[in-house]
């Protein structure tokens, strides 16, 4: 359940932005989750709902999209999207590539509800 730790980090940053902007309530938070982070959507939603209670983000919606994984082959340096857990290069079959995309969770934006 690393989703709880991830939600805590997202919320901490979002709440500090809300505070910096006059304590406006948070309407939505947008993140991009790398496919390799193995985020379980239900677990993320659950952790988010539990964490926002009683904060400026209460009632906010968490919008997220998945960034596909990209792996670089250590032999021929081509980039590919892995098809299974054993990454092997579709061009030269070499194993052991390095993730070049889809291994991070990015906080893209926070929407605050303006008064009036």
């Amino acid at each position: 359940m690393h989703e709880a730790g991830i939600v805590a980090a997202i919320l901490e940053r979002a709440l500090s932005l809300a505070e910096e902007n006059g304590g406006l309530p948070i309407e939505s938070i947008r993140i991009e989750a790398g496919a390799l982070q193995q985020i379980v959507p239900e677990a993320l939603e659950f952790a988010f709902t539990a964490a926002i209670a009683g904060t400026l983000a209460e009632g906010a919606c968490l919008e997220w999209s998945v960034t596909p994984a990209r792996v670089r082959c250590p032999e021929c340096a081509c980039d590919y999207e892995p098809e299974d857990v054993f990454w092997s290069c579709p061009a030269c079959l070499a194993p052991g590539g390095k993730a070049v995309a889809g291994d991070e969770i990015i906080l893209s934006s926070v929407v605050l509800r303006e008064a009036g």
Partner: protein
Amino acid sequence: MEIKVVEKVLKVNDELAQAVRERLDAAGVSCINMISAPGSGKTSLLESAVKALGGRLRLSVIEGDPDTTLDAERIAACGTPVVQINTAGGCHLEANLVLRALDQIDLQHTDLLVIENVGNLVCPVSFDLGENRRVAVVSTTEGHDKPAKYPKLFRCADVVVLNKIDLLPYVDFRVDVFLDYVERLRPGVPVLQVSCRTCEGIGGWAAWLCDVAGKG
């Protein structure tokens, strides 16, 4: 009002991990992060290492567990300095906890800091703790399919320890399949096959620890 952010969610953890790394580097201390499922024998591997090393390497240990000081008591009984972190239910250690624990460790008299993470094959992998090397531990009772099911850990492991090999005659663990999975996920990674009970392979484990600490 939309505020564009575009930053890594775990940026704060990464920065704190870097602070841990810098503090350890400045003190000339190497650091390993041991990750495994609960019960694979991380604490036993440390007890065995302390015995095998016989004072050749000055270890300090950070124990991560959701609750109790049971593991810390075992390490302390070996005469090794130890700090217990209780995560109060948390399933992994984060860099802020390690940074705080460093205040309780005598870095001047430490060659290698060992962080024993909370038993879990998933969550600890995402959190850099400032270590120099990652150790993945699997025991033969867990099954040979673990690398395929938990690939992320094995892709970032600097050494894989296969523990409890004394039980191989009694379990259906296929060492050849396990080694094939590991090699495909992390080509060239050393795999140490050990038993804390019979001490088989423990010399190699102790030697690996010495290498990490530059005392090989």
